[in-house]
Symmetry: C2
Subunit: 498 residues, 2 copies
């Protein structure tokens, strides 16, 4: 009889260390006790609006103290938050809200322009404005005193290589084990303070909130990444840990120039794909302790981490799996690869999602015998360090955002004058990668680059819009007509399309 329940995380934390600072946001600093009281009140307001235990509720909110309060209010009620990427178009949002069967969505007033589209697109959806909600009448909320670790806490959508986005279910246990695995790796000291400039709607940001409550650690929350503000707060709020993607780190290095980060700063947690060598070398010179990581929405953030002492000797490696987690490399015939051999990265651990919301088939396909088949290609060296060769084969990571070529191809191929389309990523100094599209026009038809960009613009988030579109006669496909995206990348690296 294994006991799978824990006390409600925020309530327990507020009980244990009521007076420690929980969140710094702009000029405000609130303690865990205050965070609990405000979340408790918001829970009563949400309940009064008809939201109840086990509901799926869309959340379309920016990085803001109110968002933290609302997310924890949902946890107090044991409501599942379907956390929506703020940068999606209303069409994409409608798709995710329908797919998750959400009956409510909580919106930033700034997003009110999408409200009409959401109401039109999602049957019986109730849109709740954040400001209205926070000033509405509160009931006495029914607080979930215990959380079942196998219960779903959050849902975040991620697009596979095969097209439609899927809702990744993240349980309380997934978040708990990620926090614990990270603490066992990085250690946890009383003066720790984590700076969050990455979006809370990503697992990278959301996981910081969970760690804050589980560890009893203050979070410095920024609305977005602003390099000056970051450097100011690292110094003034005594930040010790920060989560970054490569582009953020290189802008920080450009800005600090010959200076150093304050001494108390102990960990730069770097996600979003392997970092380029010159960046890592600059970090060594400036004594910035970079911990490279590998993780995904399905693993509730980092599952593999490389300590700074290896950042140059194991250059390009993502490190070793955190204590609770395991990694293997699976070959195409289903056998496990020996060291040095590349294959699909498969991962296991209590931080790994139980599956995709309302998609038993996709779940069965990706999760087999407890092992998540990531679709990423990599190998383990003789000491067990992971090297990721290709994230999800063709995934484009642009400024920390995942862009799935298949999704862009699907949109572009919807244009009446497009016969065929292939998308791949191009290395970019600023964004890491940007998407590039290769288009075959229909016989006798014509279409301009501008027309196609406009076409995309109305159908997908701005960061997904191809940075270049090239017209060609036919796409490279194998005998089974499978698109050879690798070939597209070769064309780009050969400079054939500059």
């Amino acid at each position: 009889m294994q006991n799978n329940s824990l006390p409600n995380f925020l309530k327990k934390r507020a009980f244990l260390t009521p007076d420690r600072t929980a969140i710094y946001f702009h000029e405000e600093a609130i303690t865990f006790k205050e965070l609990y009281h405000r979340s408790f009140k918001a829970a009563g307001q949400l309940q009064a609006l008809g939201i109840k235990k086990d509901d799926y509720v869309g959340v379309l909110l920016k990085n803001h103290l109110d968002t933290v309060i609302i997310l924890f209010a949902l946890q107090l009620l044991s409501v599942r938050a379907v956390i929506l990427n703020n940068r999606l178009t209303s069409g994409e949002l409608v798709w995710q809200l329908n797919d998750s069967k959400a009956k409510f969505v909580i919106l930033e007033p700034a997003f009110s322009e999408v409200e009409m589209a959401l109401k039109a697109g999602v049957a019986s959806l109730r849109c709740i404005s954040k400001d209205q909600m926070l000033s509405s009448k509160a009931e006495d909320p029914i607080i979930q005193e215990e959380v079942d670790l196998s219960n779903v806490c959050t849902v975040m959508y991620t697009s596979g290589t095969t097209g439609n986005p899927k809702g990744v279910m993240q349980t309380y246990g997934n978040h708990w084990w990620n926090s614990v695995g990270s603490a066992l790796n990085l250690g946890f000291i009383e003066r720790d303070c984590w700076l969050c400039t990455v979006p809370i709607f990503h697992i990278s940001g959301f996981s910081i909130l969970m760690r804050g409550v589980i560890y009893g650690m203050p979070i410095v929350l920024h609305e977005s990444f602003d390099v000056e503000k970051v450097l100011f707060d690292i110094k003034n709020k005594q930040v010790t840990i920060m989560s970054v993607v490569g582009t953020m780190l290189s802008r920080m290095i450009d800005t600090i120039k010959d200076a150093h980060l304050p001494e108390q700063f102990r960990c730069m947690l770097l996600g979003g794909g392997p970092a380029p060598l010159p960046l890592l070398q600059s970090c060594v010179e400036k004594e910035i302790p970079v911990f490279q990581t590998y993780g995904m929405t399905e693993t509730a953030s980092q599952i593999v981490t490389l300590s700074p002492e290896y950042s140059l000797t194991k250059l390009g490696s993502a490190g070793k799996p955190l204590f609770p987690a395991q990694i293997k490399i699976e070959l195409e015939d289903g056998t496990i690869a020996s060291s040095g051999k590349a294959g699909e990265i498969i991962v296991k651990g209590p931080n790994v999602t139980p599956g995709y919301l309302n998609r038993p088939e996709a779940t069965m396909e990706k999760l087999r015998d407890g092992w998540l088949h990531t679709g990423d290609v990599g190998y383990l060296d003789e000491e067990g360090f992971l090297y990721v060769l290709d994230r999800r084969s063709d995934l484009i990571i642009s400024g920390g955002e995942n862009i799935y070529p298949a999704e862009l191809e699907s949109v572009l191929s919807g244009h009446p004058n497009v016969a065929d389309v292939g998308v791949t990523g191009l290395e970019d100094d600023r964004w890491g990668q940007v998407p590039i599209a290769f288009v075959v026009k229909k016989d006798g038809a014509d279409v301009s680059v501008e027309e196609l960009v406009d076409y995309c613009m109305s159908r997908m988030a701005k960061y997904k819009i191809p940075k270049a579109i090239y017209f060609i006669d036919h796409l490279p496909r194998n005998a089974a007509k499978k698109l050879l995206r690798r070939k597209l990348r070769e064309w780009l690296s050969e400079g054939r399309f500059e």
Copy 2:
């Protein structure tokens, strides 16, 4: 589908941080890699002797590096260790080995004198001498790559107030969650180093071994508590944390006199019942950071801990339950007490035992709806701090060892000339408490104190022998003939028997 398995703890630790020191013992220091290799070899030797997965194997070993290796070897094979208190008589050992249905016992050569008694008392028991085992031929062991957190790792016997000792099953999960709960409370820093002078056969010592492997932290292991050696190693091995009972702490304070502990020392984890005020005041004066705790074999060590900042303002409190755990006070009518009201302490959490080995009835009696009924009496103050009034009502804690009055009473009442007997604890400067017996002789029969002491001596561990035996005409019993041990304590405190 909650994933309840983790990688084998020691194997994973040796993989993650192979070169960190795992154990300091005398002049030796071994790394996690070496600990793994030696445990791996010992696992092969144990397997060659016929020990296999899921067996229950008695372990009668002292605090020694070999013991650590053997205990982890058993974990590598997923064998359940029935960890025996070294101070028990052979009769007591026979009882526990029979009760646990152990087919093997691994013995210290120093304990060979009990070997004959064990063989005679336990059917088909195989006694394995530690030295012989460690020099025997090894097979290629079948290592358990994963541990199921609900699987039993260790069994430790504890006597209830109602007589017979019961085998407390401690799962891998119990040990894991205890380690994690402790880390979330105390923090965990890279330079941490834990000094273990308490017995490994107690949960207080065993839990330190588990934390070492789970955190990747060195343990300084002593054979026993030697105050000079302790102070020497705190300084020279840079110890940061130490587990103590009150008597150990007061001897340390007497010895260091006006000096202070080195600055890196950050936590004196104090178990074994509330500490007396003068001791706590001395610790404040000497800036010794004392963390008072409450815990038991059934909770895999501490479940409630008081931080040093509260040690005087919340004098006598054991603190608040660790993050994963919960506490309530239950009144006799089964309702939950409000703050300030005393009742039975009931606890819940993933560190709480799933029950008693081969005793479904005792398990059902003590574990109801996931809550362990400790039998201890206490209350929570308005801020939720626990005050333990009476450990297991009548439990005597002497030098950190639990002595159960019912057990002594049961032995003494076996003497042909004894009609009735009641045992209680008396406060003692050196041991905290010592057991005192009140005996009613049979009509017309006679027996001396010396005779009864001799009688006890041959039947139970020395530390359990009553420090005084008083003859009286009749015992204080209530209407239901239940012994009123509280009355015995009153007699002692009134000085009626000095």
